[in-house]
Amino acid sequence: MKKQTSREMLHALADNQLDSKDIPHLLEDIEANPELQAELCEIRRVKDLVKYAYPLKQSTSRVLAARWGQTMGKVAAVLFLTIGSFSLGWYNSTIHEDTLGNIASVQAESNKSIIFIGYSDRERFQKTLVKAEELLQRKNNPQAEVYVVASAGGIDLMRTNVSPHQHEIKKMLAQHDSLHFVACNNTIYRYKKEGKPVNLIKDVEVAPSAVEFVANRINKGWNYISI
C-alpha cells in the first residue's frame, strides 16, 4: 500500500466510511505498524478537537422573514426604544452589582494557574517545576493554586522510575497544599496499550482528559501556561 493511500484509508476508517470488506485488511496493517496506530490516534484527536470547538448552539434565532413580520419588527423596535429609555435607569442600578460580582469571581479565579506540559523533555521538565515554584512564590496568597497538567510525553515527568525529578516533586507536594500534579488518563491508557505500564508518583492526580481539564478551567478564567 502506498503511503498516501494508507493515510487516506486511515481517515476513512476514523470517519467510518469504509466498506466492511476493507476494514479487516486495514486493521491488520494497523496492528502491525505502530506508525499507523499513532497516525490513527492523531486523526481521532483532531476530529474530537474540531467537534469540541464547534458545539451545536442556538443561532441568533431569526424566524424566516415574512413581510408582516418585518413590519411588526420595526414597530416593536420603536416600542422597545421608548420603553427601554424609561427603564434604563433601573437596569443600570441592577447590572452594576452583577458586573461587580462577575469581576470579583474572575479575580478569584485569576489566582489559579495551569502549567501544561506535553513533551518528554528534560529541559521542559525543569522549566515546568521552576515555573510552578515561581508562581506559588509570586502569588503568595491562600487562594493561589497551581496545577501542573501533563499529557502525551509530558506525563513522564510524573512517572516513577522515569521522571528525573521524582524527589523534587514529592518535596514540592509536601510543601505546598495548593500545588497539584495531574496526568491525562487518555495518555496513560495509550501507554498501557503500547505495553508501557504507568506508575505515577504518589499523590499525582489523574484527569480523564487533559484537554478537557485545561479547557474547563481556562473558561473559568484560570491562567494558562504551556511549556
Binding site: 498516501q4 493515510r7 487516506e8 481517515h11 476513512a12 470517519d15 466510511q17 492523531e42 486523526i43 481521532r44 484527536r45 483532531v46 476530529k47 474530537d48 478537537l49 474540531v50 467537534k51 469540541y52 470547538a53 464547534y54 458545539p55 451545536l56 448552539k57 443561532s59 441568533t60 434565532s61 431569526r62 424566524v63 424566516l64 422573514a65 501544561f116 506535553g118 499529557s151 502525551a152 509530558g154 495531574v182 491525562c184 487518555n186 495518555t187 505515577l200 504518589k202 499523590d203 499525582v204 492526580e205 489523574v206 484527569a207 480523564p208 482528559s209 487533559a210 484537554v211 478537557e212 481539564f213 485545561v214 479547557a215 474547563n216 481556562i218 473558561n219 494558562y224 501556561i225 504551556s226
Partner: protein
C-alpha cells in the same frame, strides 16, 4: 413536488447550518446572514427538492452556494483554495494564552477554504464522503485529499493540545 411541513423542517436545520457556516467564515453575523439567505432560497426553490431523504444535503448545498456567492462578490478573481482567513491574532501571539476552543477555531480558520469546508462537513455533520462530494460538487478523491491535508495541518498547528477532549467524567481521582 412540495413536501408537507418543509418550512418547519428547514427551521429545524437552522442551528446545524449556522454551525457549519460559522466554521467556514468564522464570523457569527455573516454566518447568520448566510443561513438566512440559504433558508430563504430553499423555500423559494422548494420545488427543486426531488427526494425528501436528501433534504439535508440539498440544504447544505444551498448554503455552500450562498457562501461561494458571497466570496465571489467580496473576493473576485481569487483561487478559493488559496484564500487564508486572516485573524487578528498574529503568529507571534502565544497560542497557549488562547482558550482551547479559540486555538482550534484559529487553526481551522487558517485552512484553505476548500479544506475547511470538507473537514467541517465530515467532522461536524458526519456526512459521507460521497455526500460531501455532492454538496461541494467535487470528486470524492478531492474530498479525501482535502480532508487528509486539512487534518495534517491541524495536527501540526494543534500539537500543544495533545489529548482528545472527553465530555463526560470531569472529576479527578487521587492515585495512592
Amino acid at each position: 413536488m412540495v413536501f408537507p411541513g418543509l418550512k418547519r423542517q428547514l427551521e429545524q436545520h437552522r442551528n446545524r447550518l449556522y454551525r457549519q457556516a460559522y466554521s467556514w467564515c468564522g464570523d457569527g453575523m455573516l454566518a447568520d446572514d448566510l443561513v438566512q439567505d440559504a433558508l430563504s432560497k430553499a423555500i423559494r426553490k422548494k420545488d427543486q427538492l426531488r427526494e425528501q431523504a436528501k433534504t439535508e444535503q440539498w440544504l447544505f448545498r444551498i448554503l455552500h452556494n450562498c457562501w461561494m456567492e458571497y466570496l465571489r462578490r467580496n473576493r473576485p478573481l481569487t483561487d478559493l483554495d488559496s484564500i487564508q482567513l486572516v485573524d487578528e491574532v498574529s503568529p507571534e501571539v502565544d497560542l497557549g494564552k488562547l482558550q482551547v476552543v479559540e486555538a482550534v477555531r484559529y487553526a481551522v480558520g487558517q485552512l484553505p477554504i476548500g479544506q475547511r469546508q470538507v473537514i467541517s462537513l465530515v467532522d461536524l455533520e458526519e456526512f459521507k464522503y460521497s455526500e460531501v462530494a455532492e454538496i461541494l460538487d467535487i470528486p470524492v478523491g478531492t474530498v479525501m485529499s482535502r480532508l487528509s491535508r486539512a487534518r495534517m495541518s491541524l495536527k501540526k498547528n494543534l500539537f500543544h493540545l495533545k489529548a482528545a477532549p472527553v465530555v463526560k467524567q470531569p472529576s479527578l481521582r487521587r492515585v495512592k
